[in-house]
């Protein structure tokens, strides 16, 4: 299990000089046209570094969720390629066992207990309940829900359901965690708490995280790098680096550095939206 030190070293190395060594995945001129003719993405290129916490920020309709789905292999790009630089990832762009996806909705099976929901990815790989028990309980402990293993999703609050969803994502020990506005439907108190928990887990496991959000504040708080996207057609508008040390806590939320970065990001977002033809 990589330590936070390893992650920091990787993330802070200058990407521009030796990109091959730490790039996890590269999008090369990705375009996506939906069957109804909508051009969702146009010529999008992006290198995502290993161990990086990257946010895709943009107005609705800028194709940020589409990018995430294409990376996950849930839908082919109309043109362009995705290059996985590490051997563990098959280049076909299909299901990668090392990828985990967290949706905006908790997306739990209502008929299954919390335990069975988290067990699912292992179960699909043929692992029995008894042999998966340790791992499932460990994942639940990570998100603080080990006492709720036998509960059903409908008995949980929105925040707890999202924690189950995260536990299910981390049980496969993913290299890459894709999150599609995971906390957008939660109240602010719960969201702040989950933000902190997510950063902690990221530092523990050394995942690469691609986090889709429409919140400037959330993206600055979490990310090392923010890719601001513009809509119609969806494309990269600006690529911002957030230079602030981890671990970030509540003091960071109120710091001048945070404010400064929020303003910079907000300006970029407004520019991205203002540029849109009406």
């Amino acid at each position: 299990m990589p330590t936070p030190v390893v992650r920091t070293t990787v993330a802070e190395a200058p990407r521009t000089i030796v990109p091959q060594q730490q790039t996890l995945v590269s999008l090369r001129s990705i375009s996506k046209t939906f069957s109804n003719g909508t051009l969702a993405l146009k010529d999008m290129s992006l290198d995502i570094g290993r161990g990086e916490f990257l946010s895709l920020l943009g107005p609705s309709g800028c194709g940020k969720s589409t990018v995430l789905r294409i990376i996950a292999g849930l839908g082919e790009p109309t043109s362009g390629t995705i290059e996985w630089t590490t051997a563990e990832h098959d280049a076909a762009g299909h299901a990668h066992p090392e990828i985990a996806f967290v949706f905006q909705e908790p997306t739990l099976m209502p008929w299954a207990t919390v335990f069975s929901n988290v067990w699912l990815p292992l179960r699909l790989k043929g692992e029995s309940k008894s042999s998966a028990r340790e791992e499932v309980m460990e994942a639940l402990r990570m998100v603080g829900l080990d006492a709720f293993a036998d509960a059903y999703p409908r008995e949980l609050s929105g925040g707890m359901k999202m924690r189950v969803s995260i536990a299910r994502a981390l049980i496969t020990k993913p290299k890459l965690l894709l999150m599609d506005e995971p906390f957008a439907a939660l109240d602010e108190i719960t969201r702040f708490k989950l933000n902190n928990d997510l950063l902690e887990l990221w530092q523990t496991f050394g995942w690469t995280v691609i986090f889709v959000t429409h919140s400037v504040f959330e993206s600055v708080y979490l990310s090392e790098r923010i890719v601001v996207m513009a809509a119609r057609p969806g494309r990269v508008f600006e690529d911002l680096k957030i230079d602030a040390p981890y671990p970030r806590g509540d003091s960071f939320r109120t710091s001048a550095l945070y404010n400064e970065n929020c303003r910079r990001t907000s300006d970029a977002l407004h520019a991205a939206m203002g540029e849109r033809p009406h």
Partner: protein, 292 residues
């Protein structure tokens, strides 16, 4: 009906979107007085009706071949039980066999149709045609093609019970959460795994709703088909005994047969509701008691 909502669910839901600190609380149990009232009130109502009926028949001296008194119907139950009991078993056999076959074939066809849009396009219209054509109109034809009346009755009851199970299950299989399907795809689930772990559990509430409708319809179709087919002798079901009693002006027996049919219908509905409640009680909104 009855079964649903009677029992307390041990763990109440936390409101969606509530904060993390909330801890499940035990809901207050239904008071004993309320439980007693739930049973006592309908029973008292029934007793009241029966007594009023008895008094009316006695006081107004209504002849038993027009409206028999409840006591007289009770007597008919006892004296005619050898005939009625046998007829009841025949009717129950037809109903449950038809329901069983409808259940298996309906679910199997729904799964088959969920596998391919083409199969669905090819088969579903015929299922609809079979459903919308009145069973009484098909019965004479079925009688020609089958060797025994029993088989004909079975086919009629099956045809009627089959469709609600098929259409509901198909609907359930189709209405699977898109994100969950994506998740299964992402984790490399096979078609079979997706069916077993995702599509079928998702279709269960739909299927059970279909089963409750089909249970009642199977009984109705068994009776209607018997009216149309007119079995007699050893294989006579309740419907035939009912018609026969009418012809002989044996109205007490007619009422007794009618009561048996009603009780059978209620029992089937109760049983399917109970199965439905029991299977869904832990997770589905329809079977869960919520406190506001």
């Amino acid at each position: 009906m009855s079964a649903i909502g009677h029992e307390n669910f041990d763990r109440p839901a936390l409101a969606t979107g509530s904060t993390e600190e909330e801890v499940p609380l035990l809901p207050p149990r239904t008071s004993i007085g309320e439980s007693v009232a739930r049973i006592a009130i309908p029973v008292a109502m029934l007793v009241l009706l029966v007594v009023a009926w008895q008094i009316y028949v006695t006081v107004a001296e209504v002849p038993h071949y027009i409206l028999p008194s409840p006591v007289r119907i009770g007597q008919a139950f006892v004296t005619d039980w050898p005939i009625l009991g046998k007829a009841l078993i025949i009717t129950l056999q037809t109903t449950f066999l038809a329901l069983g076959i409808a259940l298996v074939s309906g679910v199997a066809l729904a799964i088959l149709m969920a596998q391919s849009r083409w199969i669905e396009l090819a088969l579903f219209p015929y299922a609809v045609i079979l459903q919308v054509t009145p069973i009484v109109a098909i019965a004479p034809l079925i009688l020609i093609y089958t060797s025994t009346t029993g088989q004909a009755l079975l086919i009629c009851a099956w045809l009627v019970a089959f469709f609600p199970i098929l259409s509901n299950t198909a609907q359930g299989l189709h209405s699977t959460d898109h994100n969950l399907l994506n998740l299964f795809e992402l984790y490399g689930a096979s078609r079979w795994q997706t069916l077993i772990h995702l599509r079928l559990p998702n279709a269960l509430p739909f299927f059970l709703a279909g089963l409750r409708i089909a249970g009642g319809l199977a009984l109705i179709a068994a009776v209607v088909a018997e009216f149309a087919a007119g079995t007699a002798g050893e294989n006579a079901g309740l419907a035939f005994r009912l018609i026969e009693a009418q012809h002989r002006l044996n109205i007490p027996r007619l009422f007794a047969a009618l009561v048996l049919l009603s009780c059978t219908g209620v029992a089937i509905f109760g049983a399917t509701s109970l199965v439905s409640y029991w299977l869904l009680r832990k997770w589905h909104e329809s079977a869960v008691k919520r406190e506001n």
